[in-house]
Symmetry: C2
Subunit: 332 residues, 2 copies
């Protein structure tokens, strides 16, 4: 049995794409004691990947040149020498961009399929959903009735953030690029208002029109110019959840944010976080997400790019805003 | 008896100064029921004043053209028709830039001179000190042993912030402009390190040298370029207290802050506040400040500009960084 892999061959200075990776094949490494071999089904494609492979400073260990790209994924156990894992079990773990990785059992989790499907575990029960949950509820300190503005609203984290806010009885305004994404947010997710930033000549004015009494929580997935505009639309005591800055990924010069004066004048709290800090509370989040998933109040569009070899292309698509919903690569 | 006043005659677009004000004299307005007449002794000169008189949006009511400049001050009661105030009492209240204002008793507080001198009430027990106290302890969530970086460290709020952090067993690094201010901070306030931003070619590198393990709390009085540099020197879990942005006051174009990526990568919280939000806890803060003042652990250099007519000049000095310590105008 062979393990197909996609290796990092060059560090991108701008947007990552096919030119920075190379396909490779090797025999599957036989599992040692405590290890399992997994047949990968879905690989998560996330904005944070840019920081794992770039030339700049990174707050996590960087992927080394010549190594398979790091990624979280879902797959089925095909060989096991680890207690608690049987052949046929569905698991999630650090598959990387590999078709048949050999993984440590203690770094891999069994998936409970009575709770959700494989696709649910890749979407509304996955890490992007946990990110939205802790970002909005803990960092954003969301309260019912508040006005919530979400950028990157059609993306993996953004869609869930919008729906959590709707479930919590908030008024929700989504920002996305393009008519299709905006129609999806308005018609399928039933947001209260949608702003198409590609069609709006003055994004700050559009925000103020959509949120005439001001924004209580701005959930920021993009940074840059949209963040700067959102700072002008905040209400007294607002919270800005710094979840992502995808507009700045690979930018040769970072956008300079001018409107930070809002922090003092309006007692604003702006806070970054990493979902892994909330590891001890994943069960809580999944209980909440599962409850609302079963009740039909939570949906997650998976954007599947089929074929391991297309993973670099999928990553490039993420940064060009080509995906609607949680982006994954389908394998096998 | 006459009331000398300084009236706002023109809204500054840049730094405010003598050209925006005009001296005036009128007979003292006799106090109505519940009012007192005060002979002003000290008037506080604060960065926030810029936002009360500018053309831009302000989060507090603006001073009207032709009216006396708004200000907090300390003085002695010379006539009273308000219960609880006797002639000769020392009080603090909204004197504005006036020598003998007529004030409402319910907006004026008696000063307890057993707690501190008039100068103490203008300095280490005044509003600037309360700002430092709540900013550092509540917003900054200061913990003993942490590394604290303070900009505008020689200013009214900055000096107290530095000393509160020293009292709380923190390592304290002050940023100020010029050798005299830096010598004062190092030799008199005994800070652990001092950065003269006017003498440093690379302020971010200087911060990293002074804080090799990173900054836990950055108390920001200045905004702009120094804030941007400080964002590169933060430690995991750091807090940025957005207290002031004096470097941006009256700037024709606001500086664009590029390094907000630190928020996500290092789980940073950046928060603005207004001291008035903590009004219910002023007694707590004054108990703490008084305790350490009496023990000799807290000092506040008052920078006194004598003469009501020089108030506009004092305000301009504040924005050029001419003061060391809490800036007040001395009257009478």
């Amino acid at each position: 049995m062979n393990n197909h892999r996609i290796l990092l061959t060059e560090r991108p200075t701008g947007i990552p794409g096919p030119e920075h990776f190379q396909a490779d094949v090797e025999p599957v490494r036989p599992p040692g004691s405590g290890e399992i071999v997994v047949a990968t089904r879905y690989i998560s494609i996330d904005p944070a990947m840019r920081s794992w492979i770039g030339v700049g400073p990174s707050y996590v260990r960087q992927v080394e040149i010549g190594q398979p790209m790091r990624a979280g994924g879902i797959g089925q156990v095909v060989e096991s020498r680890a207690a608690g894992f049987a052949v046929g079990d569905w698991v999630q773990g650090r598959t990387g961009w590999q078709s048949h990785p050999t993984l440590r059992g203690d770094q891999t989790q069994n998936l409970d399929l009575s709770v959700g499907t494989i696709e649910d575990w890749a979407g509304p029960l996955g890490t992007s959903a946990l990110t939205a949950y802790f970002g909005l509820r803990d960092v954003g300190a969301l309260r019912p009735g508040e006005t919530v503005l979400v950028s990157g609203a059609a993306g993996g984290v953004g869609q869930i953030a919008c729906q959590i806010a709707l479930i919590e009885a908030c008024r929700v305004i989504g920002i996305a690029g393009g008519a299709d994404k905006c129609a999806y947010l308005r018609d399928r997710l039933k947001l209260d208002a949608v702003i198409d930033y590609k069609a709006e000549p003055d994004i700050a004015a559009a925000m103020r029109r959509a949120c005439p009494e001001g924004v209580d929580v701005y959930f920021d997935n993009v940074g840059g110019e949209i963040l700067d505009a959102a700072l002008t639309a905040l209400r007294m005591g607002a919270r800005v959840v710094s979840c992502g800055r995808i507009s700045q990924a690979g930018a040769t010069e970072q956008y300079g944010v001018k409107n930070l004066g809002a922090l003092g004048g309006k007692r604003v709290r702006m806070q970054g976080f990493l979902v892994f800090d909330y590891h001890d509370r994943y069960a809580e989040a999944r209980a909440w997400l599962t409850h609302h998933l079963r009740a039909g109040r939570l949906r997650q569009k998976l954007h599947v790019v089929e074929g391991l070899d297309r993973a670099p292309e999928a990553l490039a698509m993420l940064f060009s805003g080509g995906n609607t919903g949680k982006l994954v690569v389908g394998v096998g």
